[in-house]
Amino acid sequence: MIATLLRLAALPFLLAAAPGESPVTQSEAPMVARQAVERRLKDDGPLRFSEMTVRVSQKMPGYVVCGTVYLRNGSVERFFVVTPGSFAVLERDGAGLVAKYWRLNGC
């Protein structure tokens, strides 16, 4: 009970990117990528992830995650996630962005 109350009290301080928050580690990157993709595709779920690859970011600190996700309607979409940033770029975003990110990051 006390532990739960303490956790609730600390919640505002545990938000991603909040003051005092630790940077995402390589082992946490896949989970962060899933959350980032789910945030973008919340109307297309449930989602099924496959072929997720984590790489150390080359031009900026952090990690990049490349992968594919199966949507509820059966279609497949590639994604590219940067962290820090926890932001997913999707094939639907156009301009050949995902293809370029995959190529530049050896996905």
Partner: protein
């Protein structure tokens, strides 16, 4: 010490008002906006660039960002360049600007993180939970552009004042078609002198841990000469 309290309280109040005003404006403009197509690419001749002058003090938001995420601010000597704004580069720039403006939900720092009760007035960070204010939009756009191959030296975080005198952060992209502004308030990518902002300071071209002031009213016509290094990069 006590004499400082009213000043601190006033600053806090003004900061809150500033955040809310910019946030409100951002919600209105971004939600009403439309994506930008390549046929709206800035003209190539006679485009003015914003002149910078002396070194300025660093932004406190940048300083605290570097303390929190030191790897982001590791010393790095950059080679100043201007990007050749091909149709493909323009399309990519507009796409990333549209994407971040569309997907990140605007929220004021204190409402987001409760920073005032921590004694923090301004908090620059990435919008890791899909929400953020102007600083967060700028950091994410900068990162996505760099990851897409854009040269870091051509992407400067830039402090401006809005016509209402409110502090605001935008991303300046130095191109052969002028200094372009990526903003979460103006939906479209604009040439700097079309924004209506007063330009205060930005990151230096050769070192992003150094900030330089803009010359008031300073503008020069872009010369495609040997003193301007142009970079054409593979934008596909």
């Amino acid at each position: 010490m006590s004499a400082r309290r009213p000043t601190t309280a006033l600053l806090k109040f003004l900061s809150q008002q500033w955040s809310m005003a910019v946030l409100t404006l951002a919600i209105i403009v971004v939600s009403a906006g439309a994506s930008q197509s390549s046929d709206q690419m800035p003209a190539g001749r006679g485009v003015s660039v914003a002149e910078v002058g002396a070194q300025s003090r660093s932004m406190i938001g940048w300083t605290t960002f570097c303390e929190a995420q030191p790897a982001e601010c590791a010393p790095e000597k950059l080679t100043p360049v201007r990007v050749m704004l091909t149709a493909a580069a323009w399309s990519e720039l507009a796409a990333i600007n549209d994407l971040v403006n569309r997907e990140i939900q605007p929220i004021a720092d204190d409402e987001h993180y409760g920073i005032y009760r921590m004694g923090i007035r301004n908090w620059w960070t990435y919008p890791d939970d899909g929400k953020g204010n102007c600083n967060d939009y700028v950091l994410l756009k900068r990162k996505l552009l760099i990851k897409a191959g854009w040269p870091k030296s051509a992407l400067s975080m830039t402090v401006v004042l809005t016509p209402k005198g409110e502090g605001h952060l935008v991303l300046m992209v130095q191109t052969d078609r002028g200094d372009l502004i990526l903003d979460n308030v103006h939906e479209r990518v604009l040439v700097w002198n079309e924004t209506g902002y007063e330009f205060i300071r930005r990151q230096a071209d050769d070192d992003h841990n150094v900030w330089v002031s803009f010359r008031h009213g300073g503008a020069s016509v872009l010369q495609t000469s040997s003193d301007i290094k142009l970079l054409r990069f593979n934008s596909r």
